[in-house]
Each structure stands twice: as structure tokens, then as C-alpha cells.
Amino acid sequence: MPKITIDGREIELPDGQRMNVIEAAKLSGVEIPHYCYHPGLPVVGSCRMCLIETGNCDAKTGEIKMQPKLVPGCTVPATDGLVIVTANEKVRQARAMVEEDLLLRHPVDCPICDKAGECTLQDYYFKYGQASRRTDVMPFTSRKRDLGDVNLFIDRCVLCSRCVRFCAEVSGTAELMIANRGAHEEIDVVPDFPLHNELSGNVVDLCPVGALADKDFLYQQRVWFMRRHRSVCTDCSVGCSIWVEENQDQIYRLKPRENPHVNKWWICNQGRYGYHHVHDANRLAVPRVRKDGKTVDLSWNGLPEELKSKLFTAGHLGGVFSPFISVEEAYLLAKLLRSIDPQAVLAMGPMPRVGEDQKFPGGFVITAEKVPNRRGIEEILGYFMHKVLSFEDFLQEMQRIEFGGVWVSGGYKGPWIEDSAARRFEKIPLLIVQDLFPSSLSERATYQLPAAAFSEREGSYMNRDDRLQTANMAVRPPWGVRAEGSLFWQMLGRKGLYNSRTVLDDLSREVLYFAPAAGPLPDTGLDMKINKLAEVGALTAKTA
């Protein structure tokens, strides 16, 4: 176990992990300020903000020899016997000098900069900078350049080259470069080859200052007004961990949440900008019933009981489970339908696929399957049905079996059902459709229920690698919309408010596959493949 000394404190580092001094200091709670270093990118050591004093401790004699010059912490590997000093006058002066240098030609237009409030240049200046600025440059407006997917504010840049390295190493597209020399260096693109790739939004998160600005978020909101909520991206089956940032129930942006098992530090642009449907004006907003060819608006008052009594008298039941609803909601819906009709046929909703799986040089993957919870629904259906019926199978079943009532949960972000398929639901006497947007199916529904978007409900999703992650509620649903979970909860006659954790506890007790979810779920999710290991173990035990 390597031992290093930071500011006179000896700490032990975990075995078998290669890390530099910045990471090692972070483990012991010491912050070494840095701009250019990022754990997901190659090290260049260009910003000089992480300068520290280093030395070596002789293991035999215990004598410490310090290096005469300061070295950047990002380039120093944490090896046994290393001694570093981050808190003496020499280091303090070096940091103050770097800060002053970076601010020499900085516009200091913080009042109009979107990064203000989460800007490391601001934070470090207050922590490590000098009390006053010695240059006589007045605050000015930065020059601006359109790089393609994002805007560049040229004068705000501190030339850490994180964005350049990201495009070279992680997205593998290498659009960005540092043009010119010396004091004239700027980030730029080659003419006619703008920054345009599936991961380009990440350069905005990477930028430690306000130089790269998101076009979608530009001047929408100041960052200190927003609250962030843990969530999971629902745009493809990778299930990246994200933050949903909102103010007064309006989502302003999505940001990647660090998760070493799924998305590391990144998310794709489709996920990042895939929240606009939440505030779409075309969303279904009130429950409606079709009576004598006319649709009438309903209130939620007494509606769950009415639906339940209608389902009881309907006869043979069917259920279509959208892969957009959470594991808990699927479980409750399956319980509900099965408690009314023990022979109810439960099937998976359509599975939209777009293009092919994309893999990037940095290891990031975007899958073609544009749903978040196929695996979760499969396991639920597998438990209740002992097989997984696809949507096509269900359409075939509809020809064979006379259904009295069918519950279709939608929640898709775009058009998801074809007219020909929707027409086949026409003859069903009681068709309940719960969806985000009006579709040819919701028009034919007896009961049309508005559904909640991903940010408006709490629940867990299982990604393609069987990782179960919980998404919290970030914004309240619009007036008239009730989240699926709370509706099923009430229809099952449960008391109090819907609580996804309670449902997950029930689920983990009832369904063997979900047994590992009984304990608290870590923020990075829980790998449910442990089950498969257990199965393999049981098999080998049998054969032995």
C-alpha cells in the first residue's frame, strides 16, 4: 500500500490504482486547484495552477529531500514515499501569479457570463488570487465566435485545451484546435469544418470558465437560481446518470452526473437536449372520456375508482407496458391488472430503434434502442407472464383472444404507433391509453389519461447492462397530469402518497430477480447481474 505525505499528513493510497497527486490529495480532502487537468482526459500540464512542492522520503533513513522547483501536480504520479507540500508561501505565490496572469486579458464580464457562479476562475480567484487586480484593463465584452454546436467567447478562454483534448480523444472527431501562437492563441475550428458531433455538448461542461457556451442554455437562467436533481437519461438504453437542473418547475438544462460504471463524465447531445418535450404545449393535459362519439374532459376526482370498477366489469384484460415507465410503475400496473383479472395478458410496448449503436474512441456508447427500461420491464413481465410478449406478439394475441379491456401505457417522447396498429385496438370496448402526446391510439381510447414525463416522476430504470438506477422527481407535473405511479398506487388501494422506495422494497421481496435492490441503491446504480452470478453459482453447485 503506497504511503504519501501531504502537508505533513501521511496517507495511505488504495492498492493497484494509478493516480496523480491531484487525485491522491482529493482522497485525503486536500484541494489542489487545476484548470487543464481532468480525470477523463490526457494530462498536458499547461495551466500551471496545480504547482506544488514535491520531495521524496528515504524509506530507510526517513530523510526528506525536497525538489528545488515547483512541479505541476497533475504530472506527478503518487508513488510510495512521495512528500508534497500544497500550503506554503511559495505555492501560494505561484497560484496567485497564475491567477493574475490568467486575468490579465480576461474581460471580467461575469455579470453577463453564463458560467458565473460555477466558474473555477471565479472560485479560485477568491480562494487563491490576490486582493486586487494590478492591471488597468477595464471590464469589456468578450469577442464571440460561432464554432458550430457551441459558441466560443474568445477572450474568456484560459487555454486549458480541455475541449481540444476531448474532441481528439473522447469524441474522436478532432474539430477543435488551438490556432496562432503565444499571446494570440485562441480556440478555433478549420473553416467549413465546424464543431459538430454527437458529444459536442460536453465541451461546455468541461470548460472551466465561460468560454464555451451552450446555445440551448445561452442566457436562459443564472446558475445560482437552479436546483439540481439526480436523474437518469431516458433517451437510449445506456441510461446515463444525469442532473436535471430546474427553477420553479421549468427545466433549463441537463448535465452529466459522474458515474464510472455507465457514462463516466459525459452524455450525448440527444440526451442533453432531450428534455424539451417536457414543456411541450401539445402534451395531453386532462383526462378525457369518449362518450357517444364525443370526448369529454374529466377531473381526477373519483376517476381512479371509476376506472377500477370499469376494469372489473370489462372481462378479459390486457396490458401494454411502455419501456419508458419505471420498474416500480410497471410492477404496480402488473399487480393492478392481475388483481382484477388473474389471466390478464401483459406485453411490452413497441421498441423504437434509430440507426445503429455508436461507439466513440473514448469508450462512450449511444445505443440504437431509444428506450431506458427494456430490461426492467422484461423482468417484471417475465415474473408475471413467465415469458416476454413483444408488441407484435400482443397484436397477434388480440386477434386470437377477445379482450374486454386493454390498458396501454405510452410515455414515448415522439410518435410511436402506426395507424394500422392503432386501428386494431378499435374494437376493444374499454381502451385506456396513458400517454404524453396525442396519437392515433389516444384518439381511439375510451379513457385518455395524461402521463408524466421522465422528470416528473420518481422510479428506477434498468439499463441494457442490468444496472438499476433511481431517478428522482425534478419538476412537478403540469396541472391536470398525474404521474403513473401515484395513480396505480391509489387504484391498488394503498394509503398515503406514492413512494417509489416502498414499491421497490415490495418488489425486491416478491420478485427474486430484484432481491439485491432491497438495500439502499447507490447514486451510481446497482449492478443486477449479481443475480446471474448467483444463478451460475446455483447451477455449478447442482452439477457438483
Binding site: P111, I112, K144, R222
Partner: protein
Amino acid sequence: MKTDDARIRWVESPKLGMLGKSYLTLFIKGLTTTLGHLFFHKKVTLESPEQRHKVLDPVNYRGVHRLNKDEQGRVKCVACFLCATACPAHCIDIVAEPSPWPDREKYPKVFNIDELRCIFCGMCEQACPVEAIELTSFYDLTGASREEMIFDKEKLLSVFDQTKEREPMPSKRANDAAQDRLKTCPTSGDSS
């Protein structure tokens, strides 16, 4: 503190004589004040709105807000939201947009102040980095509805047009003061 504390000094109410018990002296004293106010004091109340209350220092007065304009007549505000951040009553609502002018980056598309919510503390004025929002000496604002009392950008800019002569912006005041000093200063007069 206990009642037996040494620091406690016990006092007795004074013993009243015959005159004191009749309260006659106090009665006369009080009546003198009343009659004095009635006949000999200057009236301080005004027949508002016919008579106007005089604002002693319009520059320091905290009345209705105005949005200042620059030399080209554009709104000075850069939509930094610092006034909205400082506002304890949450009465300022701004929607920002990239500005249409080449020398400016950001400007407010919408700038609403709910004058009914405002507590006229003047913190928005203090927070503003570009002296774009100021409080004027207008104090009697009336409206027929709550919506009418939400002042939008145009209305706030028009308050500036009405008050700019009487209450110049701080930078203009400082400029004028410097000009005055130059005029009166004998050395500068000699050198020119």
C-alpha cells in the same frame, strides 16, 4: 435574575398629595399641548393629491423604479439578474436574450417589476453593476388592477424619460461635478 439579587434596586411610587390625587395639573398640562397644536403649530398634513408632498432629495428618495437609457437611447441593463438575485421580495422578473447590437452581448427581452410586491428597499439599485436600475422620487403610484401594477420594460424606460432631467444618473452627476470643479478651479483656468 432572582428577586434577591443584589443588583436590583427597589423603588417606591411617589406619595401623592391632594393636588396630585386630583390630576388637575396633569390635565392642564395635557390640554396646553392639545390647544397649542390646535392654534399655534404649523400644519404638517397635506391635502393630497391637490397639494404635493415635497421630496427633499430626489436623488436619495426611494420611489418607483426606472430603467436607465444609454446615450443611444438603448436600455442600459445587461440582464445580469443581480437585481433579481438581491431582491428580498422577489418582485423582479427578467428574460434575457442575446442583444441585437454589436457592442453589447446580452440584454433584457422582458423586464418586469411587480410594484405591489416591491418593498422599495433599493437593494436592486445597489446590486446593479451598470447603473441601469434606479429608484426615482415618484411616490404615488396608482392602478386599477394588479396587472397594471406590474411595470414592464417600456413603462420603466418611460419613467426614466420623465425623471432624467430632475434626477440625473450617478455617473452623469459625477461628470457634472467634475466639470464644475474644472470651471471653478483657478489652476486649470490658467493652464488652458
